[in-house]
């Protein structure tokens, strides 16, 4: 009896000691779904927190859309020299506790100066309770405006972005970037950070470009076409269609997957960077009777050559800027850490080679 009582007391004490310090009921939490960070006045950051309304939140839990006309979310903003300072200011404007544990997306302004960008990355790296799997994107437009857009009738922006970035094979190029990926790249030497660019197109989101960051600032922006080729290089392109002439008629090949391996070879005093791409595709458009072995062979060579030329041009432009978002140098520098201080110079002066091997694996049901 005494033992049982003693055990009960100990269990009770353990439970009570845990206390309620961190306890917040859901009605006292302002659950942040999107964090937007813009440039504020006087070298400050303007941070926006998008919080769903309680109606929208309850409709989320039953997988329905909130009724049209009623706002599904509100935005609270604050300014400060750091995200934390801005958050403190924003906290004063909302009754509930701004809770970052369920943040789905972070939208950064592409106009953020390098020190501010670095400070933002640092904040998210140190923010223990925040999810490292939240998606990150940049936008050249005012961030608050981008956050408040409702891309599809009644659908929360956070849900849209979540759906967009969660489905890896839904888009032409999988441009998913998470807080963790950004943090990981920020620590690596030479390796640049790439982030999807969120643009406005007819009151909808358009995500088909990539911004490449080096040292906290965007060094270059890839066009939608370059983004597709960049996607091949990082194994993220899956649906891109390429059109080639065959006997005077256009032939369309849709690449289903790509697999790239990169290698760095020491050559003389410099480096030789080689990328081997294996692309698999199916023929979408080909005149009836044209699906012969000879034509498919020709087509495979055409696709390989076409991709190789574009990839080489893209790699050269990135090399000229001294950015390596593909990550050629990381394995080499890991093995040769003494070369890290000279890494950028080595990368800039390296020779480049792209080898593409294409396999047509389908022609549909027509010979």
């Amino acid at each position: 009896m005494r033992r049982a009582l003693f055990a009960a007391v100990l269990v009770l004490v353990s439970a009570l000691l845990g206390g309620c310090w961190d306890d917040r009921s859901i009605e006292h939490r302002a659950i942040v779904l999107i964090i937007g960070i813009d440039q504020g006045p006087d070298q400050q950051l303007m941070v926006h927190f998008q919080v769903p309304t309680s109606q929208a939140l309850s409709s989320l839990s039953v997988s329905s859309t909130p009724s049209a006309g009623t706002p599904s979310a509100y935005v609270v903003s604050g300014t400060g020299r750091t995200v934390a300072e801005a958050m403190t200011q924003a906290q004063g404007k909302v009754s509930g506790d701004l809770y970052l544990g369920q943040t789905q997306a972070i939208i950064l302004s592409s106009h953020l100066p390098a020190p501010q960008f670095a400070s933002v990355v640092n904040f998210f790296a140190r923010m223990g309770p925040m999810d490292k799997t939240a998606f990150v994107a940049v936008t050249p437009e005012p961030v608050a405006q981008v956050m408040q857009r409702q891309p599809q009738e009644g659908m929360l922006a956070a849900l849209y972005l979540n759906s967009l970035f969660s489905c890896r094979r839904c888009q032409e190029v999988d441009l998913t970037r998470t807080v963790w990926a950004m943090e990981m790249r920020a620590q690596a030497p030479v390796t640049a950070i790439w982030l999807p660019l969120l643009k406005d197109k007819d009151a909808n989101y358009q995500v088909n470009e990539v911004a490449i960051y080096q040292g906290g600032r965007p060094v270059m922006t890839l066009t939608p076409e370059q983004t597709v080729y960049f996607g091949y290089m990082i194994n993220a392109t899956s649906k891109a269609a390429m059109v080639f002439p065959l006997h005077g008629s256009p032939v369309s090949v849709r690449a289903l997957s790509s697999s790239t391996s990169t290698r760095v070879l020491a050559q003389g005093g410099g480096l030789h960077l080689r990328a081997d791409l294996k692309v698999q595709g199916i023929v979408d458009t080909l005149a009836p009777g044209e699906a012969t072995l000879a034509n498919l062979r020709t087509l495979q060579n055409e696709v390989s050559q076409g991709i190789a030329i574009q990839e080489l041009a893209l790699l050269r432009s990135m090399q000229q800027q001294g950015v390596d978002p593909v990550g050629f140098m990381a394995p080499y520098l890991w093995q040769h850490q003494e070369l890290t201080p000279k890494a950028e110079a080595l990368y800039r002066s390296a020779s480049l080679e792209v080898r593409v091997h294409t396999r047509i694996i389908g022609v549909g049901d027509v010979l």
């Binding site: 100990l10 353990s14 309770p129 998470t178 990981m184």
Partner: protein
């Protein structure tokens, strides 16, 4: 029980120091670290064989009293220090990722209280708890860890370099040696074994240690492959940071990786309760009659000492500095310096005894 007494010492920090010091030589450094731990365990088993019936802390049959007293003090301080840093580390993890507003003291007190509670009923309760908790936590860790495989992007960081360099290997093994702190607990456990089971127990201990090597090798591969070397060396708890990526959106508990980290708390619990138990038994030779009451009294006393000791660390940075600057060399000297001295003392005593009995 022996494995449970060391598995928590480095699970949160591994493989930060190893990678930072050894770079691409880290796999070799890890191998050396494992071999070092096996050798250390072998050395303590040799000591056990010449001194099988009582705790090492006060061994007048091996050492003269003037030497046995400082040995006792060193052993007690070591066990207490290990418990303190493991409790502190886990409390920091909880505080950083889960319960940011809960005072650290409360988190530390919860761990110590539960550990005292389990150890209160002595070895059977301790052993049964370890038997249940340890295997469960290992199996769940491996299963959840496997979910990270698709996220491996830095495969190059896992593979060992063909250019082996001795200095980084030695430095990495030295700085990362905290991974197996705690196996010297075997000295206190040994007398509790039936003499006929001792040889078998040694074999099991070696096998369990080999399995722990595999467990940590898997952890190394996943952490390095997923987070990459730069992030690993910059993270305070690389394993925890990596586990945070296991997020299953459609599952009831989406943050599955973080849930696993709480399971690692079970490793911490087994570590702390075995160490408190060990502390209570290590002082037992000082009492003429070591009753249950005395055992529980000393258990409570050391629980308070551990809790008090944890207050010395304000942040994980303080903890890392203490562990790396003071505890790593101290434990190394203890584990590899003490057994040879005791073995030598044992051999000398035996020779003197033989000389006395021979005509």
């Amino acid at each position: 029980m022996l494995t449970a007494a060391y598995i928590a010492s480095g699970i949160f920090a591994f493989p930060r120091e190893l990678v930072a010091a050894a770079g691409p030589n880290a796999p070799y450094a890890f191998l050396l670290e494992c071999l070092g731990a096996l050798f250390g365990l072998w050395l303590w088993f040799r000591v056990n064989r010449i001194h099988p019936d009582g705790p090492l802390s006060f061994a007048p049959d091996l050492l003269p009293v003037w030497l046995a007293a400082p040995t006792l003090l060193a052993t007690l301080m070591l066990h207490a220090a290990l418990a303190i840093i493991v409790v502190s580390d886990f409390a920091f993890v909880l505080h950083s990722f889960f319960l940011i507003e809960t005072p650290l003291f409360v988190l530390q007190a919860c761990v110590v209280l539960v550990a005292v509670y389990v150890a209160w009923f002595d070895l059977p309760a301790l052993a049964r708890s370890v038997q249940f908790i340890y295997l469960l936590a290992v199996v769940i860790s491996i299963l959840v860890g496997l979910l990270l495989i698709p996220q491996i992007t830095s495969l190059y960081a896992i593979l060992p370099t063909p250019d082996i360099s001795a200095t980084p290997v030695l430095l990495g093994a030295y700085k990362g040696s905290y991974l197996f702190w705690g196996y010297e607990l075997t000295v206190t456990l040994y007398p509790k074994l039936h003499p006929e089971d001792r040889a078998k127990a040694e074999k099991y201990a070696y096998r369990a240690m080999a399995l722990t090597f595999l467990f940590f090798a898997l952890g190394y591969a996943l952490t390095m492959g997923v987070s990459g070397p730069e992030l690993v060396t910059h993270s305070i708890w690389p394993g925890v940071s990596t586990m945070r990526l296991v997020n299953v959106g459609t599952f009831l508990i989406n943050k599955l990786g973080l849930l696993l980290v709480t399971f690692w708390g079970l490793f911490v619990l087994t570590f702390v309760m075995s160490r408190l138990w060990c502390l209570a038994y290590d002082v037992s030779p000082l009492f003429r009659k070591f009753s249950v009451g005395w055992y529980r009294g000393t258990l409570l006393f050391f629980g308070v000492v551990v809790l008090w000791g944890t207050q010395a660390f304000q942040t994980p940075v303080h903890l890392i500095a203490f562990a790396q600057d003071f505890l790593v060399p101290t434990v190394l000297v203890f584990n590899f310096g003490m057994p040879p001295i005791l073995l030598l003392a044992g051999a000398l005593r035996q020779r003197v005894a033989i000389a006395r009995t021979s005509p």
